[in-house]
């Protein structure tokens, strides 16, 4: 996979994960083009389209479009499964995920994605393992942020 984009029906970007090296300008240009192209598609068209030398696989879940750009030799149908798996993970984590969750917790959305895909490839095919990893990381974060106890504050430990 070369990149993944999440955007709303109004074309607002909610997540962008780039697995190839491009300048900020190029990324913006590509994003704009693809968002426009996909938003212009009619509902009866299929989830795949050819764009430049890549294949775009997209699916709409409620108010969000999930869009992946894959290379020619990659399998479109399994990419749909990748998208679906990611949505399931978000859903499990946030509990009935909606666009607002992803807006207000965008870092979490990235963290979850990073436990599922790495360098554009699937790293973990067990839903359970992905969620466990996130849980553990969240715990670590909480511990790091736990305010020092009163005793520590006054220097008694």
């Amino acid at each position: 996979m070369q990149f993944m984009l999440l955007f709303s029906r109004q074309g607002k970007l909610r997540l962008q994960k780039w697995y190839v090296s491009l300048s900020d300008r190029e990324k913006k240009k590509i994003t704009r083009e693809i968002v426009q192209t996909i938003l212009a598609r009619k509902p009866k068209m299929c989830s795949f389209l050819e764009w430049r030398d890549l294949k775009i696989v997209y699916k709409r879940y409620a108010s969000l479009y999930f869009c992946c750009a894959i290379e020619d030799q990659e399998n479109e149908l399994i990419t749909l499964e990748i998208i679906h798996r990611y949505v399931e993970l978000l859903d499990k984590y946030f509990g009935s995920v909606c666009e607002l969750d992803i807006i207000f917790n965008f870092e979490k959305a990235y963290f979850i994605l990073d436990e599922f895909l790495l360098g554009g490839e699937v790293q973990e095919t067990s839903k359970k393992n992905v969620l466990k990893a996130i849980e553990q990381a969240d715990l670590l974060q909480e511990e790091a942020e736990t305010p020092r106890s009163v005793l520590e504050e006054i220097g008694l430990t």
């Binding site: 299929c46 389209l49 870092e107 973990e124």
Partner: protein, 766 residues
């Protein structure tokens, strides 16, 4: 005073609450100032919060490069929270084009070698996302070490990081190839998947690696077999299919290893058959695996029976309710047409059904199946489709038919018939060269002249709206009109055509507002040709006489130089003798005003550029004097109308350094919603205007159609002007606004002018 900065959630709320873009910008700028200040001298404990806010703002499209250094600091911090956000920031903000990115190399190195898995994970993730070639060189050994560590969480990430490193630095293959053998024995799905991806990458980059890994084919077959045979496992199954991600990846590797290699292909034969027949196809996951299997079967040296099985699976896919499945089947069939033509041909009927797919895959597949033996049937199918297909697919379909006809036409007559049918059905959607191609084709088929002209005449008689058809028909009638009138042709029904009918038809074409200037040119030229050959010249001349033409039309015909024909002189005299379109007996004023309608310019006919005037004749000149005709070029379409249209005064809308742009308007009475504007560009300066392009915009309630301009060079010294027709359809009689954009080169400069036409007369839209 310390101004408390917003928490991330509050910032997001505030940004979303902004009603305008300007308001949003304000909020963000204010907050960014806070963030900057905080980066400078704020509490390091809160740095991660500031960066998070910055990352949100960055996603909205605002600049955030000043946060790059903060990412570095956060990554270097010992706290997990800092690292988490810092690495995220690095992935979003750091760019391998800037040297700054190298600064995280050390932090990554440290994090890779310390013990906390989650931290190692962050480092590996970042490395595999934004790791540049230099970073990969530096950190390859660290990653290699992690490949064989006990923890599966880190190992699976290390393997995929290796994949990224090889992509960036292929030489690193040497380091990452050896561990693969051992990794392939892993039971952990994540590590296994990563390993297979790694091996795939290695094999794709190096023939030596490919050869090396052929020996693991049996092992891969075994792994896949186990997967397929394994019962349902909650952890890895999707819709009853065991770990489809892993299956697909294995199949892909098998494809690469089995390509052009008999032995490997044979080893995987049984397994492929097994997967192909046993996979549950009720849901997408199963179909994804099945699809990959089909691709592998077709791309390796599979047994014949297996190949037929694969094509049949695709055939079934074509009938699937799921349009995505149909799409991938069609695109695959396309690829297979070359290698397995006859097998694919068997599925033609299904492919025909798929013509209706909203994506063009169906058409392409269908076209790819055309060959010399089935071209008639296939074209028939495509023609039927063309007649009823949605407009957005027409152009491609029409081109496709014409292409197929060109390649495989069994006879010339069939070819002509086919093109004719396409022009009749979808004339407006064909490519520009279709007309030229057809005229050439007909011209070269002498035995078919009579046939062609009759068919074209009949088609034209029925419908004069399809411009390419009209043009070809007019040309043909001009060339072979005599064949049309005399006797009968065995190949068509007997057709009695009288001269007057032919002329009337051509006149109708000339008069019609649907006819483009080019079409009129063909029609007029045909009229002129006919008049030289007809038994009764005055008849044809009479028609031609009524239609003064512009220089361009006369110069356009293939072949003869117009001014040499006797008819030319006759016409000239005739036209000058009578002033058409002018009320006889009117006052001189009226005559002068109306004489801007149409006269022949002798100078233009001699094809040197005369000075072009705006179409207002000086009084009295050029009327009734055969000896010194001085005439003026008509620029309005009104000259082609027998009805006096509502006359709207011309408008000069632009002038710069000698380049003038004039608009003239016609409101055809029969179609009150239609406004025809002719844009004329005239250049009185000493230098040519080149690359001239005029574009227009109108309010949304109107529809605008821009015809092709007569050219893109406006020659100096008032040479031949460039004209362009705008057709504006304004059914609601909305107040018309017109914006023009001109781009051109003049006097060594590139010019762009955008302006609104201010003083459009009300008659243009009321």
């Amino acid at each position: 005073m310390v101004v408390p900065s917003l928490k991330l959630q509050d910032l997001i709320e505030e940004i979303r609450g902004a009603k305008t873009q300007a308001q949003e910008r304000e909020v963000i700028q204010k907050e960014c100032a806070h963030i900057r200040a905080s980066f400078r001298d704020g509490d390091p404990l809160h740095r991660h919060r500031q960066l998070a806010k910055l990352l949100y703002v960055h996603m909205l499209g605002y600049p955030a490069h000043f946060g790059q250094m903060e990412c570095l600091k956060l990554i270097a911090s010992p706290r997990f929270t800092d690292k988490r956000v810092g690495y995220l920031g690095a992935m979003l903000l750091l760019d391998e084009r800037q040297d700054a990115h190298l600064l995280i190399t050390n932090s990554i190195k440290n994090d890779l070698s310390q013990g906390i898995q989650a931290v190692q994970g962050l480092a590996l993730c970042t490395l595999s996302t934004v790791g540049s070639a230099e970073m990969c060189w530096d950190l390859a050994t660290e990653v290699e070490k992690l490949l064989l560590q006990p923890g599966s969480y880190v190992r699976k990430k290390a393997v995929l990081t290796a994949v990224h490193m090889i992509r960036k630095v292929p030489e690193l293959s040497n380091i990452f190839l050896p561990p693969c053998a051992q990794l392939l024995h892993e039971r952990h799905h994540g590590i296994l998947l990563g390993t297979i991806t790694l091996i795939t990458e290695l094999c794709e980059r190096s023939p030596a690696a490919l050869k090396h890994f052929r020996k693991v084919v049996p092992q891969l077959v075994q792994i896949l077999r186990t997967l397929v045979m394994t019962g349902y496992s909650t952890e890895h199954s999707i819709s009853g299919v065991s770990d489809p991600f892993l299956q697909v990846q294995i199949l892909r590797l098998l494809r690469i290893l089995g390509r052009n290699h008999e032995e490997s292909s044979e080893t995987m034969n049984d397994l492929l058959a097994q997967v192909a027949t046993n996979t549950d196809t009720s849901r997408n996951a199963g179909n994804a695996v099945l699809f990959e299997t089909v691709l592998t079967i077709m791309d390796t040296r599979s047994a014949a029976g297996l190949r037929v099985l694969a094509v049949n699976i695709l055939g079934r896919f074509l009938l699937n309710n799921d349009k995505n499945i149909r799409y991938v089947a069609l695109t695959s069939l396309l690829r297979m047409v070359q290698s397995d033509h006859s097998a694919v041909q068997r599925h033609r009927p299904t492919v025909v059904e798929c013509l209706r797919e909203p994506d063009k895959a169906g058409q392409r597949a269908h076209l790819a199946l055309v060959n010399s033996s089935n071209v008639r049937a296939m074209t028939q199918e495509l023609q039927s489709f063309l007649e009823s297909c949605p407009p957005d697919l027409r152009a491609d379909c029409a081109s496709g038919i014409l292409l197929a006809a060109e390649r495989f036409a069994p006879t010339k007559r069939w070819h002509i018939d086919t093109i004719l049918r396409v022009l009749t059905t979808a004339g407006t959607h064909v490519r520009d060269d279709a007309v030229a191609n057809l005229t050439q084709l007909i011209g070269g088929a002498q035995e078919l002249h009579a046939y062609s002209v009759r068919r074209l005449y009949s088609a034209l008689a029925e419908d004069i709206s399809q411009q390419p058809l009209v043009q070809v028909a007019a040309w043909c009638i001009g060339e072979y009109g005599d064949l049309l009138l005399e006797g009968s042709c065995e190949e068509t029904e007997p057709l009695q055509v009288k001269e007057e009918e032919v002329l009337a038809l051509l006149e109708k074409v000339l008069q019609s507002h649907m006819s483009l200037p080019a079409t009129r040119g063909y029609a007029l030229t045909a009229l002129m040709k006919l008049s030289t050959r007809h038994s009764d010249p005055p008849c044809a001349q009479g028609s031609a006489r009524s239609y003064p033409s512009s220089h361009r039309l006369l110069m356009k015909s293939p072949g003869s130089t117009q001014r040499d024909t006797p008819i030319f002189h006759l016409l000239r005299a005739a036209i000058l003798e009578k002033m058409p379109l002018v009320e006889r007996g009117g006052t001189q004023d009226e005559e002068a005003k109306e004489s801007k309608e149409a006269q022949l310019s002798e100078a233009a006919l001699v094809s040197t550029e005369p000075p072009v005037r705006r179409p207002e004749a000086p009084r009295g000149r050029g009327l009734g004097r055969a000896s010194t005709p001085t005439c003026y070029l008509p620029h309005t379409l009104s000259c082609f109308s027998l009805h006096t249209p509502a006359s709207v005064p011309n408008l000069r809308v632009f002038e710069r350094e000698g380049l003038q742009l004039n608009l003239s308007f016609v409101r055809p009475p029969e179609t009150p919603a239609l406004l025809l504007i002719t844009v004329t560009a005239v250049n009185t300066s000493g230098a040519d205007v080149t690359h001239f392009v005029c574009q227009a915009a109108v309010p949304k309630s109107c529809q605008l159609q821009l015809q092709a301009p007569s050219g893109d060079t406006v020659p100096a010294q008032g040479g031949l002007p460039v004209t362009q027709l705008l057709r504006i359809f304004n059914p609601n009689k909305a107040p018309l606004r017109l914006k023009l954009r001109l781009t051109y080169h003049h006097l060594g400069q590139s010019v762009q002018e955008i302006f609104e036409v201010n003083n459009l007369p009300a008659e243009t839209w009321q």
